[in-house]
């Protein structure tokens, strides 16, 4: 008689891994975006001062 192999339920760890990946990617992209917005703001202020 053949017994069916039970696949371990490790889905929670997969979701945790995906969450961590999403978090790091958001940190990379968020850092780029925030720095960009910050510099654009600085540039606008400097242009105003220059005028």
């Amino acid at each position: 008689m053949q017994t069916a192999q039970v696949i371990p339920d490790t889905t929670a760890y997969l979701l945790l891994g995906l969450g961590v990946t999403a978090l790091v990617m958001m940190a990379i992209i968020g850092r780029i975006w925030l720095r960009w917005m910050d510099l654009r703001n600085d540039e606008a202020v400097l242009h105003d001062l220059d005028v």
């Binding site: 371990p8 760890y13 891994g17 990946t21 654009r40 220059d50």
Partner: protein, 252 residues
């Protein structure tokens, strides 16, 4: 200007117009998002589940691919470092910095996804295995790169030392890559090629798994680093312009 010409000029030229959004970058970003999403669909719906490990095995598509992406991006840091030391043009330092920042992020993804996989398979989040130790040293070495840059005031000295450091730091990436092939005592499995004799948690790659892994590795080692580095370079170019403007106002 053609899309490819536009891409190359904006990638390496800090004087490139930062006000406009280069069409090539927008196209590349959208293509990368689509390719990444297709990759997720492939490893959920096509690759199949490993009967010994369950769904957590799918994390390897990100774990391995993020290392490949980090390898390429940090390799870009070496190229940028050499070119800066040779040409002494700040644009190459911007390129190296952008590559290393992206590579560092991808290294973190590689490290964290490995820990998450290890918990159900090795029954621990962390062990001082040669591979894990070298990956941790690699990540910490690149974290120190940013501290080095922050600690040096003079721009020329900062760029010169950062270039040398970025080149030398790549040795940690090479060691991390080869260590499971030269140290028989590691328990880290090799996904591609024969695993070390003590490896725990290795699995056989079916043809659908191999196709999915190859696909995600191409996306994560070519498209993801390229698009992130390009956006990051634009920030450095803008920073350069703001600094020039600031100096100009102070001179008045």
């Amino acid at each position: 200007m053609s899309v490819s010409a536009q891409a190359s000029s904006h990638l390496i030229d800090p004087g490139a117009e930062v006000n406009s959004r280069p069409r090539a970058l927008i196209v590349l970003t959208i293509v990368t998002l689509i390719l990444t999403a297709v990759g997720v669909v492939l490893w959920i719906a096509y690759a199949g589940v490993d009967v010994m490990q369950g769904n957590v095995q799918r994390i390897f598509y990100i774990h391995v691919s993020s290392f490949a992406g980090a390898f390429v991006a940090l390799g870009g840091g070496v190229v940028g470092g050499f070119l800066y030391l040779w040409k002494r043009a700040p644009k190459w330092d911007h390129f190296a910095l952008s590559c290393i920042e992206v590579g560092f992020g991808l290294s973190l993804i590689n490290l964290f996804t490995g820990m998450v996989w290890a918990r159900p398979i090795w029954n621990t989040w962390w062990t001082w295995d040669p591979r894990l130790t070298s990956a941790a040293i690699q990540t910490l070495t690149y974290a120190a790169y940013f501290m080095l840059r922050t600690g040096i005031e003079n721009p020329d000295t900062r760029r010169r030392l950062a270039s040398v450091y970025g080149i030398l730091a790549f040795s940690t990436v090479v060691i991390t890559f080869i260590i499971i092939r030269i140290r028989p005592d590691t328990i880290h499995p090799a996904v591609i090629g024969a695993s070390p004799q003590n490896a725990e948690g290795g699995f056989e790659l079916s043809s659908s798994m191999l196709a999915t892994l190859s696909y995600t590795m191409i996306v994560w080692s070519v498209f993801v680093p390229m698009v992130l580095v390009w956006w990051r370079i634009r920030v450095e170019n803008l920073n350069e312009r703001v600094n020039a403007l600031r100096a100009q106002i102070l001179e008045k």
